[in-house]
C-alpha cells in the first residue's frame, strides 16, 4: 500500500521547476530542499504554515532571494542568470502591501509599471482599474492595505503575463472584493493562457479553481499532487469499530488524521478507496462512509500529519 504522499509531478512541461533549493537566513533554515513543480497552464495552490518557506520560494523565482544551493527554472530559464527575461513573463503580487513607490499616485504608478512591460494591455488595465475600484489620484503610500493590494493585482494582471505568482493575493481585502478578485482571476485565465501559482491561507476560496496542490512545511514540500488525484486518494472514512479495537496495522503510515466519538472513528487516509476499505473491514470495522475532502480540509489533514 502506497504510504508515501506524492511529491513529484512527472515530466512536465513545467512553467516552474526547482530542484533541491536550500536557503538559510543566518541561523534559520528557510528552505530545506524544495522541489517545486508547476505544470504549464496549471492553477497551483501552495499551502503551509507561516514560516514554512512559501514566500522565500516564490521570491527565489524572481531572483529577489538567491538560494544557497539547488536550481530553479522558470520556463526553462534560470532566474539568476536570465533575470530580466524571467521577470518579463511574471505578474507578481508580493506578500507585502507597500511594494511600489509610495510617493507616486496610483495612476502614475500604473503608467510607470506599464513602461516596463511592453505587453501591457491598456484597455484591460482600465477595465481592471474600474473593476477593482482604484483611486487613481491617491498616493500609493496613503492607501489602506486592501486598496494597495488591489493596485498590485491590477499591475500583475494588466500585462497578461505567462505566469502569475500571487502571494496571499486576497490578503487585506473585504469578502466582497475577495470574491470579485477570484472572478476576475478566472476571467483572466480564460482570456490569457496563464500558469497561476498562488500561495494562500484562504484555501476554501481557491478550492474550485485549483488543479494542483503543494503542501509546504519546514522548508520542504511534504506533498505535491494533482487535485483530481487528491480528490480520489485522500478520503475521510467513517467506521464503527467493535469492542477491543486495536487499530489497523495495514494502514500504518497512510493515516493522516484520526478522530472519533465513542466507537465511531473517523480517519483521513491516503490510498485507493477499495484497498483502504478492505483493510478496515478485515480489521473488524464497518465502514459507513468514504467521502472526499474539500481542499481546505485536505490541506489541514496533510499539514497536521505527524511524520
Amino acid at each position: 500500500m502506497a504510504s508515501v504522499l506524492p511529491t513529484h509531478l512527472g515530466d512536465g512541461p513545467f512553467a516552474v521547476a526547482t530542484q533541491a533549493l536550500n536557503k538559510r537566513f543566518g541561523r534559520d533554515t528557510a528552505l530545506a530542499g524544495v522541489d517545486l513543480q508547476v505544470p504549464e497552464g496549471a492553477v497551483y495552490v501552495l499551502v503551509g504554515p507561516n514560516g514554512a518557506g512559501k514566500t522565500t520560494t516564490l521570491r527565489t523565482l524572481l531572483d529577489l532571494v538567491r538560494a544557497d544551493s539547488g536550481t530553479a527554472e522558470v520556463f526553462g530559464m534560470n532566474p539568476r542568470t536570465n533575470g530580466p527575461s524571467v521577470r518579463a513573463q511574471v505578474g507578481y503580487v508580493p506578500e507585502r502591501h507597500d511594494w511600489g513607490y509610495g510617493w507616486m499616485r496610483v495612476g502614475r504608478l500604473l503608467e510607470h509599471h506599464a513602461t516596463y512591460f511592453p505587453t501591457w494591455d491598456r484597455d484591460y488595465a482600465e477595465r481592471l482599474a474600474r473593476a477593482f475600484d482604484l483611486r487613481l489620484d491617491r498616493k500609493f503610500g496613503k492607501l489602506s492595505k486592501g486598496q494597495a493590494r488591489r493596485v498590485q493585482l491590477a499591475m500583475a494582471l494588466a500585462h497578461r503575463p505567462r505566469l502569475l505568482i500571487l502571494d496571499e493575493p486576497t490578503d487585506g481585502l473585504d469578502p466582497v472584493m475577495r470574491d470579485e478578485t477570484l472572478g476576475l482571476l478566472v476571467e483572466h485565465i480564460t482570456e490569457t493562457p496563464t500558469t497561476v501559482l498562488i500561495s494562500t491561507h484562504l484555501v476554501h476560496e481557491v478550492d474550485r479553481l485549483a488543479d494542483h496542490l503543494g503542501v509546504m512545511r519546514d522548508g520542504k514540500l511534504t506533498a505535491q499532487l494533482r487535485r483530481d488525484e487528491l480528490h480520489r486518494m485522500l478520503r475521510r472514512y467513517r467506521a464503527d469499530v467493535p469492542e477491543g479495537w486495536s487499530g489497523v496495522p495495514g494502514l500504518n503510515g497512510t493515516v493522516v488524521r484520526r478522530s472519533g466519538i465513542g466507537r465511531e472513528i473517523q480517519w483521513s487516509v491516503w490510498g485507493e478507496e477499495a484497498e483502504v476499505t478492505r483493510h478496515l473491514v478485515s480489521a473488524g470495522a464497518t465502514v459507513r462512509d468514504a467521502a472526499p475532502l474539500t481542499l481546505e480540509d485536505a490541506a489541514i489533514a496533510l499539514l497536521s500529519r505527524k511524520d
Binding site: 533575470g83 530580466p84 510617493w103 507616486m104 502614475r108 516596463y116 512591460f117 505587453t119
Partner: protein, 278 residues
C-alpha cells in the same frame, strides 16, 4: 509547447524607454523637496534685493550681487541630500519593487541614480541662471574677480564637486538602510580617529589619514578647487608674514577631482550591483 514558448519570450523593455521613465519618475520623486528649495531661494532672493535697494538709499553704498561660481557652493551640500530624496521609502530592505522589474538590476539602479544626477545638474544650471538674473538686476559683476575674468574651469568646478558629493552620498544610500548613521559615522569617525592618532603620537598615521581630506589628492581639494598656498601677507603695522591662503589651483584640483570621481563612481557601481535581499 515549451520550445514554442522559448521562441516567443515576451520582450523586455527597451533601455531608452526605461531611462526616460526613470528620469520622469525621479522628477516626480524630488518635486516636493525641489519646490521647497525653490521657495526658499526665492524668499532669500527677495530679501537680498530688498536689503540692497534699501542700502542704496545711501549714495555712498552701492552693493550688488555678483555672479560668481562660489554661489554654487551650497549646491554641493544639496548634492548629499538628493540621493536621500530619490530613494526615499526605498531603503534596501524595501527596494524589492525596483529589483523586481524585468531589467538588469545593476543597470536599473544606475539608471535611476544617473537620472537623479541629471536633475541635480539641471537644478544647478537653473540656480546659476537665477544668479545671473539677480546680478543683472543689481548691476553686479558678471564672472569677474579682481578685474580679471574667472577662468572657465572654475565654473565647471562646482558641478564636478556636486557630482562627487552626489556619488559618495549615493553609494551610501544605495548600500545602507540607515544612510544618516553612515554620514555621521564617517565624519565623526574621521575626526575622532585623526585626533586619537595624533594624541597617541602616531603622527605619520594621523597625517596619512588627514591627507584623505586635506592632502594634495584629498577630498577637500576636489570639493573646493583650491589649495592652501603660503603667501606673503602685509599686516597693518607694515610687517610681512607667511600665511596659508586658499588659492584656486587648477592642476591640484583636476587631479583630486578625477581621483574622487573615480572613487565615487566605483562606490556607486559596487553598491548598485551588490545583491541584497531582505
Amino acid at each position: 509547447m515549451s520550445t514554442q514558448a522559448l521562441h516567443s519570450t515576451p520582450p523586455t523593455p527597451r533601455w531608452q524607454a526605461v531611462a526616460r521613465e526613470q528620469f520622469r519618475a525621479v522628477g516626480v520623486a524630488v518635486r516636493p523637496e525641489a519646490t521647497l528649495l525653490a521657495v526658499l531661494i526665492a524668499t532669500l532672493s527677495v530679501l537680498a534685493l530688498v536689503a540692497i535697494f534699501r542700502a542704496r538709499q545711501n549714495p555712498a553704498h552701492n552693493p550688488s550681487l555678483d555672479l560668481q561660481p562660489e554661489m554654487l557652493i551650497p549646491a554641493i551640500f544639496l548634492a548629499l541630500l538628493v540621493p536621500l530624496s530619490i530613494w526615499k521609502s526605498e531603503e534596501p530592505s524595501r527596494r524589492s519593487y525596483h529589483w523586481s522589474m524585468p531589467v538588469d538590476r545593476g543597470v536599473h539602479t544606475l539608471t535611476k541614480n544617473t537620472s537623479g544626477w541629471v536633475w541635480l545638474m539641471i537644478a544647478m544650471v537653473a540656480f546659476l541662471l537665477w544668479g545671473l538674473l539677480l546680478a543683472l538686476i543689481t548691476g553686479g559683476d558678471l564672472g569677474v574677480e579682481r578685474g580679471q575674468a574667472i577662468p572657465a574651469w572654475r565654473w565647471i568646478h562646482p558641478f564636478v564637486a556636486a557630482t562627487i558629493g552626489y556619488l559618495l552620498a549615493s553609494a551610501i544610500v544605495l548600500a545602507s538602510d540607515h544612510p544618516w548613521r553612515w554620514f555621521a559615522g564617517i565624519v565623526l569617525g574621521f575626526v575622532l580617529l585623526t585626533n586619537i592618532l595624533r594624541a597617541s603620537e602616531l603622527n605619520d598615521l594621523a597625517r596619512g589619514l588627514q591627507s584623505l581630506w586635506s592632502g594634495n589628492w584629498g577630498l577637500e581639494v576636489a570639493l573646493t578647487g583650491s589649495t592652501e598656498v603660503p603667501t606673503e601677507v602685509t599686516r597693518r603695522d607694515g610687517t610681512t608674514m607667511i600665511r596659508l591662503i586658499d588659492r584656486p589651483d587648477f592642476h591640484a584640483w583636476i587631479r583630486a577631482a578625477l581621483l574622487w570621481l573615480g572613487i565615487g563612481t566605483a562606490g556607486v557601481v559596487a553598491a548598485a550591483y551588490r545583491h541584497q535581499e531582505r
